[in-house]
């Protein structure tokens, strides 16, 4: 890739974003540590790093959504210390978030012009001018979307393009894109890159956060790698080979902290064939054996949760067959899946896993209440229920003052154990863990790993979905890598490593060959 940017460092005129020793802490986390960061005029600057490396935090500080604890930020030489979100917009800066913040009921034109509606001389909204203005901005990216359509009717890809068009309304000179292609399909990706090329020629500066190697090498001039809140390196992209980049992102190996033990792996328990989830994902095929922990990894938007939810019947599927021990089963709704022994530990445990204002007891028995704790069709046997809950609290080591404690007052790790206990009560034997350790402290994580290993030892089949490669590598027997809705690689954990895994997560192809070419 031709990049003249490497040799232009140092010229003050040309540095449009300059961050000096920026630090930022959230309760319990140091998100950024004395970070330096520079972007040169007219370049596309890639910002890469694992989840939690600090990419989004840094960008949010630059656009003043967060305020740094220490350090200075200059946009084209102006210190932004006292500027608000609108203030930095006036300096020509615009950020497009991972979550798009669109208003679904309004039309495309209304969303694009939101807060900047053209007015007639009577002070009312000039609808015609608004439509033209929106069409003008949208036309720079795509010709596929009608500005009169409502946003709720658009596909994910179209919404993403729209959000970019909206950012253009302020005529930014610097555009920050946070994983813009996570939602784009192949076709819209291409029109997006074309737009980016043209914008670059017109002198737009772009900061580009992405998890996709191919894109980074295709469109970026320079790259900055962040890890654990510090900057590792900034360099022209053509000076860093792909495998090197992955190494910079990962840093040194972290010592093993997962209580993995080898468990005998049995017969095939679950077979998923030709599954097309309705939401995202295509042609999903895999087997899960009893006693096996199968990891599914992939970046945000790769379609991991969608696959899990389709198998469990939480979301509809277009097609596909699911077999348990060779017998085909229908899982059109969660209660079908539960009858067949499935358990889902959902990604958002507070919104999807627990009834916060109810007790530990009621949360634990909610999936098995009719099956195991009722006399006759529906009379609850409260003694039996309480006894079972107390046993479960003891064996799982759930830190609650009593079974009657409301779950909303428990820590994240303890809440997650309550969710797992719920499924143990209903005798599940295929467990789908969707990001089970998200937002849980180190001790809590350890307990959850231990729980999962125990389940495997008892012969359950386990699907373990996670974004944290370290935990996947140390916990799982086998790993499926998803990219853009498809399973692109299956890896045996024993024969793999973090570099290889991250390489595939970022959409790389043929790791062995790439390494040999060096």
């Amino acid at each position: 890739m031709n990049s003249p940017m490497g040799d232009r460092v140092g010229n003050q005129e040309d540095i449009v974003i300059k961050a000096e020793r920026v630090s930022k802490s959230f309760p319990g986390v140091r998100a950024l540590k004395e970070m330096d960061f520079e972007v040169i005029r007219g370049e596309v600057h890639a910002l890469v790093g694992e989840n939690g490396a600090g990419k989004s935090t840094l960008m949010k500080i630059i656009v003043r959504e967060y305020i740094e604890d220490e350090g200075n930020i200059f946009i084209e030489g102006n210190n932004v210390k006292d500027l608000g979100i609108r203030g930095v917009q006036k300096l020509g800066l615009s950020l497009i978030h991972q979550d798009l913040n669109l208003i679904p009921m309004l039309t495309v034109a209304q969303n694009i012009c939101l807060g900047r509606e053209p007015v007639t001389r009577f002070g009312t909204i000039d609808w015609k001018a608004m439509g033209l203005k929106a069409a003008d901005f949208l036309g720079q990216i795509t010709s596929e979307i009608n500005v009169e359509d409502r946003v709720e009717g658009l596909s994910n890809s179209q919404q993403q393009l729209m959000a970019i068009a909206r950012a253009l309304v302020t005529s930014p000179r610097i555009l920050i894109l946070d994983e813009p292609t996570a939602r784009l399909d192949q076709k819209t990706s291409d029109s997006f890159f074309l737009f980016l090329e043209r914008a670059k020629q017109k002198g737009l500066t772009v900061v580009y956060i992405s998890h996709r190697l191919e894109e980074i090498y295709r469109i970026c001039d320079r790259v900055t790698v962040l890890r654990d809140g510090t900057k590792i390196i900034t360099a022209p992209i053509n000076e860093i080979p792909q495998t090197e980049l992955v190494k910079y992102m990962l840093g040194r190996e972290i010592e093993q902290q997962v209580p993995k033990e080898s468990v005998p792996i049995g017969e095939v328990k679950l077979s998923v064939r030709d599954l097309y989830p309705k939401e995202k994902g295509k042609d999903i095929n895999f087997d899960l054996k009893s006693g096996e922990i199968l990891g599914i990894v992939g970046s945000i938007g790769a379609g991991k949760s969608e696959v899990a939810r389709a198998i469990f019947g939480a979301d509809p599927k277009q097609s596909g067959t699911i077999r348990i021990s060779g017998k085909e089963v229908k899982t059109n709704a969660p209660h079908d899946a539960i009858d067949h022994g499935f358990a889902l530990i959902p990604e958002e445990r507070r919104d999807q896993g627990l009834v916060g204002n109810e007790s530990v007891r009621k949360n634990m028995t909610m999936a098995a209440l009719k099956k195991k704790f009722c006399v006759g069709p529906s009379w609850i046997d409260q003694d039996k229920e309480t006894a079972a809950v107390k046993t479960s609290i003891k064996t799982l080591g759930i830190a609650t003052p009593s079974p009657e404690q409301e779950v909303q007052f428990l820590s994240g790790g303890t809440q997650q154990k309550v969710v797992v206990a719920k499924w143990l009560m209903s005798d599940s034997d295929i467990y789908i863990f969707d990001e089970p350790t998200k937002g849980i402290d180190v001790g809590g994580k350890y307990d959850i790993y231990k729980l999962i290993v125990d389940l495997a030892r008892q012969g359950a089949g386990i699907i373990f979905i996670s974004n944290e490669l370290t935990e996947v590598l140390s916990l799982c027997d086998r790993i499926l890598v998803m990219f853009n809705g498809q399973i692109i690689k299956e890896l045996e954990t024993q024969a793999s490593n973090r570099e290889e895994l991250l390489f595939y997560v970022m959409g790389g192809r043929d790791y062995a060959k790439t390494v040999n070419d060096l």
């Binding site: 959230f26 309760p27 319990g28 986390v29 949010k60 003043r64 959504e65 967060y66 305020i67 006292d82 500027l83 608000g84 979100i85 469990f312 939480a314 969660p334 209660h335 899946a337 539960i338 009858d339 889902l344 959902p346 507070r350 919104d351 999807q352 896993g353 627990l354 009834v355 916060g356 204002n357 109810e358 009621k362 909610m366 999936a367 209440l369 009719k370 009722c374 529906s378 009379w379 609850i380 409260q382 003052p401 409301e406 909303q408 007052f409 428990l410 820590s411 994240g412 790790g413 719920k422 209903s426 998200k438 937002g439 849980i440 402290d441 809590g444």
Partner: protein, 341 residues
């Protein structure tokens, strides 16, 4: 600028997953005891000014009235427990009462048939409400608002708006009779109270209805049949509302088109108080207490000679206070570090 900063912090606290174990129970019971204290003070004042408030005869009045509104209040409380609202309860009660009176007095059906028809129509309307909410995915507030006005049309259509004055004596007995010197409506109330209490507290149906009200998505993902249970709450509510309507008609010995109108407000107040009193638990007992509080308040105001404007001020104020208390007890419960700022 500092605003955007602080608004970002709570979500980060939540993401980091740790909520400290607080002692919100203490805060929440302030609201509950507040209700008891306020009503206690009111009763004391009424008793000093009007000693007749504490007489046995007045107690009977209070309990008969409480009995009549208790059924519709239980129904509303069950719907609210599952996270819905039913605005059509008053008109369901009215429709059931009117239909029963019309069948008996104008068309010459016997008492039993007329009562069964009255109760059945309530269940049927509730079923319709439930279908709109669970199968057509309508907001319960909007769906039942529609039902409410359709029923007004039904009421006028049934007798052309004419009041049914002459009702059989054995029907009147349901509202005014006594058994062992205890008014008949109180027997009904006691019976239905026990059933509703057992249903909500001891069966999986009642348990799951409450769980749905807490977090419907978590319930769906745990295999609970959220659609049928939500439907069930509306059927029960319609069914229970008819008892209130029919007993009121029996007590007044007449059926008229606006008979049930008062029930909507009263049932809401009783159910909202009922939800606050025991902190969202044991809502049936809570609702019964709420109904007693409400009726004795109205009774006390009548004894003090308050005009209708004061009645409405008191009821509206009480409803707002109950909703506010409900909101605050939830807020206190959800209070997490970082939200304080």
């Amino acid at each position: 600028m500092s605003k955007s900063n602080s608004s970002a912090t709570p979500s980060d606290v939540r993401n980091s997953g740790e909520i400290e174990t607080g002692t919100p129970k203490g805060n929440r019971s302030i609201i509950r005891y507040g209700i008891f204290v306020i009503f206690g003070l009111f009763y004391a004042i009424v008793t000093i000014l009007r000693p007749g408030f504490l007489s046995l005869g007045n107690f009977y009045d209070i309990f008969i009235e409480t009995s009549i509104i208790s059924f519709v209040s239980f129904g509303e409380a069950i719907v609210i427990a599952a996270g819905g609202l039913d605005l059509s309860v008053g008109n369901i009660a009215g429709a059931a009462a009117m239909l029963t009176c019309h069948l008996m007095s104008n068309l010459g059906f016997d008492l039993g048939t007329s009562l069964v028809a009255g109760v059945a129509i309530g269940g049927l309307i509730g079923f319709g409400n439930g279908l709109m909410v669970t199968r057509l995915h309508m907001n319960s507030l909007i769906a039942t608002l529609g039902t409410m006005f359709v029923l007004v049309g039904f009421l006028y259509g049934l007798t052309g708006g004419v009041t049914v004055h002459i009702v059989p004596e054995n029907f009147e007995y349901l509202g005014n009779g006594t058994i062992m010197s205890i008014p008949v409506p109180m027997y009904f109330m006691a019976f239905i109270f026990i059933l509703a209490y057992l249903f909500m507290e001891k069966t999986s149906y009642g348990r799951n209805i409450r769980m749905i009200g807490g977090n419907i998505e978590a319930c769906r993902l745990s295999g609970i049949n959220i659609k049928n249970l939500t439907l069930m709450t509306f059927v029960l509510c319609g069914f229970l509302s008819t008892f209130s309507g029919i007993l009121l008609a029996a007590r007044q010995a007449l059926g008229n088109v606006d008979l049930g109108e008062r029930f909507l407000l009263e049932a809401f107040i009783a159910a909202m108080l009922g939800t606050v009193i025991f902190d969202g638990k044991n809502i049936i007992t809570g609702t019964l207490l709420g109904a007693i509080f409400l009726i004795s308040l109205l009774n006390g105001l009548t004894l003090l000679g308050a005009g209708p404007q004061w009645m409405y001020f008191a009821q509206g104020g009480l409803l707002l206070a109950a909703i506010l208390a409900n909101y605050y007890s939830k807020r206190l419960a959800l209070k997490i570090p970082g939200q304080k700022k």
